[in-house]
């Protein structure tokens, strides 16, 4: 991890009509880092992701990218696969040249779906669809991978397997990743750094990069839950 941030959010605010969704959001994302944003529903987590993905523009503040042409890719909560394309076509749908098609075949192997190349997404299970959506996001070699509650719709067992699978792929490929989740334990298990977003701003950070053993996960989860459930404070704790 270098000291130059890949992305910095400074005093970011976002207002929809008269509703303030975000105010004074400040944090940086460093190359190779896996960050999780946690918080209750409606707290502003997904709005932050949408601003970073440039799907919307902030109302105030500064969002600065180290590389203005930085490639970001989003994996959404629902897979958003194109039902009229085969699984392998879904992987290379945005650049269907021969090189990408060959890469798509290799990507199917990475996400464990080699046997499903020519089928359609409708025949895949929920977990398989999300693996395919992850593969699609990885196809562009993104400098920043944005995961918007990607496991929210999965059953507990599949969810746990997918957590390990995504975390492993991200670490192996040294991907800079931002995960949005309301599951505190999932955040502590997968991320290097957990940021709590509450009432439209980031109020707490927990560093768990020293190793995600069960004790660390438990400690971080409890600290984060305490912050979410108690009145807003701004603190940084390194566990």
């Amino acid at each position: 991890m270098t000291n130059t941030p890949l992305l910095t959010l400074e005093r970011i605010g976002k207002v929809y009509g008269t509703k303030v969704a975000l105010h004074d959001v400040n944090f940086s994302i460093y190359p190779g880092e896996f960050i999780a944003l946690v918080g209750m529903s409606g707290g502003g987590k997904s709005t932050i992701l949408r601003l970073i993905a440039q799907l919307e523009a902030p109302t105030s503040g500064n969002l600065s990218y180290a590389d203005p042409d930085m490639t970001t890719r989003v994996m959404f909560q629902n897979d958003r696969l194109l039902p009229w394309m085969t699984n392998v076509q879904n992987l290379s749908f945005h650049a269907a040249d021969k090189a990408q098609q060959a890469r798509a075949q290799a990507m199917l192997q990475t996400v464990g779906l080699t046997d499903f190349a020519d089928g359609y997404p409708s025949a895949l299970s929920g977990g398989q669809k999300q693996r395919l959506a992850l593969g699609r996001a990885l196809m562009a070699d993104p400098q920043l991978l944005l995961l918007d509650e990607p496991l929210g719709a999965l059953d507990a067992l599949t969810r746990r397997k997918m957590q390990d699978s995504i975390a492993q792929i991200c670490r192996e490929q040294h991907l800079t990743t931002l995960l949005i989740t309301h599951d505190v334990e999932e955040a502590a298990r997968m991320a290097d750094r957990v940021i709590v977003v509450k009432d439209g701003t980031n109020v707490y950070e927990a560093d768990c990069a020293k190793g995600q053993d069960a004790a660390t996960i438990g400690t971080v989860s409890e600290q984060v839950l305490d912050v979410i459930l108690t009145p807003t404070t701004t603190t940084t704790v390194h566990s």
Partner: protein, 269 residues
């Protein structure tokens, strides 16, 4: 699983498939058979209701004389020309209004107003304007097929899943790629419903147009035969319309199967 069991299961599947292919034809065949038997046993007045066999013989003789191919050809020409013109206009405005808010504001209200005029009520106007020539029949078919294709194209485009469009934006698709990879394929099932419906409207409109104002075509053959109390030809024309309608529907279904094979897989999943 051993080979013998595999083969037995395949044979069973094949028999089941053949049975379900035959099933839709069972009632029409039974009705024709009953009609033939009733006519042959003189239970029906065959000068008013000729038997299927007599109708078939009439069809063969009209085909050999060249009258049937000539009238069938002209009817097909009118139907296809009207469909191509009306379909193109409907598709163009459906796409345009679906994709552009400005175009929607400008055209949609007027099109919706015109859509509510029954197109067959335009027959007197069309006869006054175009006489009983080709333009009259083709323009009526054009108006008839235009609106179902417009409505379904417009609805298909505007009801594409917005989450897929947002995904396309997040993946940096250009406007052209967005149209060809997300919007058009997403709208295609609804557009094909419009095409299927429009094919039905196409034949209905043509039948009425040819019956009222024509000197050629299947509709004209039927009206002409009615004047001579030639019931065999009248029934033959009705059977031809049924067959043309069925053929159109089969073509539409085939088009759906080719373009929407991903939906077939979903129904098997």
């Amino acid at each position: 699983m051993d080979n013998a069991t595999d083969l037995t299961q395949k044979a069973h599947r094949s028999h089941t498939y053949n049975f379900y292919q035959f099933l839709p034809w069972l009632i029409p065949l039974a009705l024709i058979l009953m009609w033939q038997v009733a006519g042959s046993l003189n239970w029906l007045a065959t000068d008013l209701v000729p038997t299927p066999w007599a109708v078939l013989q009439d069809g063969v003789s009209l085909w050999q004389s060249g009258e049937l191919p000539k009238n069938l050809g002209i009817s097909l020409y009118r139907a296809l020309m009207g469909f191509a013109l009306g379909g193109s206009v409907g598709f163009f405005f459906g796409m345009l209004n679906g994709l552009s808010k400005t175009a929607r504001g400008l055209f949609d209200s007027t099109i919706q107003m015109l859509r509510n005029i029954p197109h067959l009520s335009l027959i007197p106007v069309v006869i006054i304007l175009f006489g009983i020539g080709e333009a009259a029949k083709i323009s009526l078919v054009t108006v008839g097929v235009m609106f179902p294709i417009y409505i379904n194209t417009f609805h298909g485009i505007t009801s594409v899943d917005p989450e897929l469009i947002e995904m396309g934006q997040a993946y940096g698709l250009s406007k052209r790629e967005m149209l060809t990879k997300i919007v058009f394929p997403g709208a295609l099932p609804t557009i094909l419903v419009g095409i299927r419906y429009a094919l039905g409207v196409m034949w209905t409109t043509l039948i009425v147009a040819e019956t009222i104002s024509s000197n050629s075509g299947i509709g004209y053959m039927a009206t002409n035969a009615q004047e001579f109390m030639d019931m065999k030809t009248v029934l033959l024309c009705i059977v031809i319309y049924a067959l043309l309608g069925k053929a159109s529907d089969l073509i539409a279904k085939l088009l759906e199967e080719i373009c929407l094979d991903w939906q077939t897989e979903r129904s098997h999943a």
